[in-house]
């Protein structure tokens, strides 16, 4: 008698089908997830934009937080020196993340010079707020490195299970932004501007002169920060990565500077290089009253000065080729022009190209207006040989209307009922070359009389 044959084969087929379905489902979820992350065009632009750059095409990669992308502007570096240097920098970055970002960047830019901001390690702990962890993780490409970084952040910050799940699967937290996808996924200007910072904040001015000092003291490094820093140095050493550490000139406390100074000693001891911009502060010609947005960040005027200095440093020290006009870097030329246009109404014409000095900004007096004539007057600045009078109308480009050695200028035959803004830039001659001092970018404004 024939035995009834069971069909385990059917079970096996069902199991295979179920397994295959799960794989396809997971892949679909991971693909969709790549669109969802924290609301930060900086994180998105800097991390995703980095992947769009051709492998091996970058001269340098800056790694850090806002102490990087609000000090170094890649498109100024490009415009002035043809240096392609990307800000692989994330807001409020944790020291834990630096090594992992470095590891990620090296995959596509193995030969670049890696410029790491030492300011990331100035704090008293590696701990970061949960929300900031998303800035770092959400837009990294899916890889074992990203998983390890996420794990390290969860462990280092003792995030809860729900927080950890959301870090591994950001779609769980940010799927709520589905109706804004068009605005920030497909229109990320941060990417178009090659990780150059672009926001109205760049025009703010804050006087940080009282809180700024240069300290040579040495501080104690907290254990958790020392650990991650040691791991970073070991990683760089083991993988023979070309690294330059930079101390960015923030108006931070003596304690924080002390920690950075101690770390600098360790860097030099291990045979790495460190550029201390505090020591070169005078050469930067940064104006503490007019070039900072707050104690940690420069405004656009400060950014141009710092980018100019750093760009020159990179060219001189590392022999980077000027690639402006080359076909392979067309996109950089295009972006630099667009970025310049974007900032045109904020930047004075000499800022990017002319020599700078440390003559203080003249104190501007209130404008005297009579009909369609405006009289601009100001107080003398020590060291100034002459003064450039710059004028702009609201949102239009600054224009130098005259150079004078007087402390007053009468601007006549202006348009009626029009608002004009003036600022005065002190000038002197340095090594036979005209150099421009500090100025108040907000200027002083007034509206003419008369009838239109």
């Amino acid at each position: 008698m024939q035995k009834k044959v069971r069909i385990p084969k059917k079970q096996a087929i069902n199991l295979i089908k179920a397994f295959a379905f799960c794989i396809v489902l997971v892949i679909s979820i991971l693909y969709i997830q790549s669109f969802f992350g924290v609301d930060s065009d900086i994180s998105y632009g800097n991390e995703r934009g980095f992947l769009k750059e051709k492998n091996g095409s970058l001269d340098a990669v800056f790694i850090g937080g806002s102490d990087v992308y609000r000090l170094w502007e890649p498109l100024f570096g490009w415009k002035l020196y043809g240096v392609a240097a990307w800000n692989y920098a994330i807001p409020a970055i944790s020291p834990i993340a630096i090594r992992y970002l470095l590891k990620e960047a090296i995959k596509t830019q193995p030969n670049a010079l890696y410029i790491i901001s030492l300011n990331v390690y100035k704090g008293s702990s590696i701990k970061t707020k949960y929300g900031y962890a998303h800035y770092i993780v959400d837009y990294l490409p899916l890889s074992s490195n990203r998983l390890e970084l996420t794990e390290a952040l969860v462990e280092g910050n003792e995030f809860s299970a729900e927080q950890a799940a959301e870090l591994f699967f950001p779609i769980m937290k940010f799927h709520t932004r589905w109706d804004k996808l068009k605005d920030w996924v497909f229109d990320a200007a941060q990417m178009d501007y090659k990780s150059s910072y672009h926001t109205k904040e760049q025009t703010s001015i804050s006087d940080v002169s009282k809180g700024f000092n240069i300290s040579l003291s040495k501080g104690t490094i907290p254990n958790d920060i020392q650990k991650v820093f040691d791991e970073l140095l070991e990683y760089c050493s083991k993988n023979e990565i070309k690294v330059l550490f930079v101390k960015m000139p923030q108006a931070i406390s003596e304690e924080e500077q002390g920690r950075m100074n101690s770390l600098e000693d360790q860097i030099i001891e291990k045979g790495f290089e460190c550029l201390d911009l505090y020591k070169h502060f005078d050469e930067l010609c940064l104006d503490l009253k007019n070039d900072y947005v707050d104690k940690y960040h420069l405004n656009i005027h400060g950014e141009i000065k710092l980018s100019r200095y750093l760009g020159e440093y990179l060219i001189d020290k590392y022999g980077i080729e000027n690639k402006r006009g080359m076909k392979e870097w067309e996109s950089w030329d295009k972006s630099a022009t667009e970025y310049r246009d974007y900032l045109s109404s904020y930047i004075l014409p000499f800022e990017e190209y002319e020599k700078r000095n440390n003559i203080s900004a003249p104190k501007l007096n209130k404008l005297s207006i009579s009909g369609q004539t405006i009289t601009v007057s100001w107080e003398a600045s020590d060291g100034a040989k002459s003064y450039g009078v710059f004028r702009s109308e609201a949102d239009s480009q600054w224009e130098m209307i005259t150079e004078t050695d007087q402390l007053e200028y009468i601007d006549q035959e202006l348009d009626p009922k029009t608002k004009y803004i003036y600022t005065i830039v002190p000038m002197t001659i340095y090594n036979g070359q005209k150099s421009f001092g500090h100025f108040n970018a907000k200027g002083v404004s007034g509206t003419t009389g008369g009838t239109k």
Binding site: A18, L25, F36, M172
Partner: protein
């Protein structure tokens, strides 16, 4: 542990794995342990109330059954017993069992009444006392309400009554009975199961059935879409409009209550789909609780399609026992003498119906608005029964064919309106607010510009969300329409090519993932009916 949480999903996965690994005879133990673990995670020490109710129900079922068995044994052993003696014995048994049953019901119902309604009674008694000058007050007590108590109490009562009626034999296995009372998918918000329908399924271990598990998972997906994508999204404008109701009248208030109708439907039926889907993963079929309620052609029909297990429970354990009782039969006779045949016949039916719907309302919560809700539904149904003949004559005069699409559509629309107005009572904060909103709905109907003047965008949802909602509600009604025609979408999809099927399932998962209201960016989504 909410049933729409990752913890619950992991719990179900683990429970399934252990269930199918265990020998079939022992699989019910997995369900029992899982159910009590689930209840503990949600209610901690209040699990003792569930345990107490289950124990009392079990014991009283046994006691009643023992009386029945003793009686049957006596009759079997005494063949010479006469018919009259048999009848006397049966009557005695019935009387005795009725007392036992009453005590049992009192005990389990007492727990529910005390924990859920004590403060309500207290407040109302205090109002009454103060109006007559009595200074003594009943103190307010901080009582914790065990999860699902309103559901499992009805379940317990139905079991005891079914044993009393001889419909089922009492369960002799206390552990298995504990499982019947605590089965985790349905304990929080139903459906209210019958022992005859559920027990055997729970106790017999089910074979692993791939298709059944797939179907269960698909049902869960649909439930999650209804709950997380539609219901939670609708909650935003509904909550806004009901919180700011004093600023509105006319069409906006009506719009609010219509939205609420969709919200409660998708919330509750979505929960049911989830619950039934989870049960199906273990090879267990729970009773359907919804049957396309917005396709009902009358309010009576609506209550046969909405929260079906509660409606049938009320019918079987309140309405029929009352309307067929001696007292009501006697009332019917007396009413016919006084009021005539037509009215007299209906008085006991209407009284039973009134009590049943009163109980429906009261069951929903300790608030006069819920009672009003029940009375509204009962009154409309009674009125339609009373006016049945007049309606029939009217249809004849107007030559209306009842079987046409237009007439059915009109009836559905009319039922929808009646149901919607009734929802003021269940959704408003309290009865005075409900009555105020109800009244104001009839004003200012000339101005319907809120649809186009941007007011909709001030209710917490932007354009994209409204468009998504409209699309999904249309999809929901289309699916219900197909179900009304007897077409099962799950079966239709299952017949399609593998690629198409997988695409549908993956899209469903992604819809939940992307559009669902879950996660830390939203408040935790809890079910409306969970609080019962």
């Amino acid at each position: 542990m909410s049933i729409i949480s990752i913890e619950f999903a992991l719990f179900v996965l683990a429970a399934m794995l252990i269930y199918y690994i265990m020998p079939r005879k022992a699989r019910w133990i997995v369900l029992l342990v899982g159910s009590y673990f689930f209840y503990w995670m949600n209610s901690h020490w209040l699990v003792l109330v569930l345990f107490f109710t289950s124990l009392v129900t079990y014991l009283f079922g046994l006691i009643i059954q023992r009386q029945i068995d003793k009686n049957q044994e006596y009759i079997l052993n005494h063949e010479s017993i006469t018919r009259d003696e048999k009848k006397n014995l049966k009557d005695k048994l019935k009387k005795k069992n009725r007392i036992i049953l009453s005590i049992g019901i009192l005990l389990v119902l007492g727990a529910l009444l005390f924990l859920k309604y004590f403060n309500f009674f207290g407040e109302n008694v205090n109002v009454l006392f103060s109006s007559v000058g009595i200074k003594w007050t009943i103190p307010h007590m901080n009582l914790l309400l065990p999860l699902g108590i309103s559901f499992y109490t009805l379940q317990a009562i139905s079991y005891m009554v079914d044993v009393y009626r001889g419909k089922v034999t009492a369960d002799h296995n206390p552990a298995k009975f504990l499982l019947f009372m605590s089965f985790f998918p349905q304990i929080i918000q139903g459906p209210i199961p019958r022992y005859s329908q559920l027990a055997k399924q729970l106790y017999e271990g089910h074979k692993f059935n791939y298709n059944q598990i797939c179907f269960g998972a698909q049902m869960m997906l649909w439930g999650l879409i209804k709950k997380l994508v539609i219901a939670e999204r609708l909650a935003i404008p509904v909550n806004y409009l009901f919180e700011h109701h004093t600023e509105y009248s006319g069409p906006i208030l009506f719009f609010a209550v219509v939205l609420y109708g969709f919200q409660i439907y998708t919330d509750f039926s979505g929960g049911m789909d989830l619950v039934c889907g989870v049960a199906q993963l273990f090879g267990i079929e729970l009773e359907k609780n919804f049957k396309q309620p917005y396709y009902a052609t009358s309010l009576e029909d609506f209550w046969r399609r909405w929260h079906i297990t509660m409606g049938s429970w009320m019918k079987e354990y309140i309405f029929y026992p009352l309307s067929l009782s001696k007292a009501f039969t006697s009332l019917s006779r007396k009413s016919r003498k006084v009021l005539g045949q037509f009215a007299g016949k209906r008085v006991p039916v209407f009284l039973a119906m009134f009590i049943a719907y009163f109980c429906v309302g009261f069951w929903h919560g300790p608030n006069w608005k819920y009672i009003a809700y029940g009375i509204w539904n009962g009154t409309i149904i009674m009125t339609s029964i009373l006016l049945e003949n007049i309606y029939a004559k009217g249809r004849m005069l107007c030559r209306i064919d009842e079987n046409t699409f237009t007439w059915r559509s009109f009836r559905r629309f009319r039922t929808f309106l009646i149901v919607s107005f009734g929802r003021f009572f269940s959704r408003a904060e309290d009865l005075p607010t409900a009555l105020s909103m109800f009244g104001r709905t009839f004003k200012n109907w000339r101005n319907v510009s809120f649809v186009t003047n941007g007011s909709l965008l001030n209710m917490g949802l932007n354009n994209a969300n409204w468009i998504l909602l409209i699309f999904l509600i249309i999809l929901l009604f289309y699916v219900d329409y197909k179900h009304e025609q007897g077409v099962s979408f799950r079966v239709v999809i299952a017949r399609q090519h593998l690629v198409f099927r997988w695409a549908i399932y993956i899209i469903a998962v992604l819809i939940i993932l992307v559009f669902g209201y879950y996660g830390s960016e939203y408040n935790a989504a809890s079910f409306v009916y969970e609080k019962f």
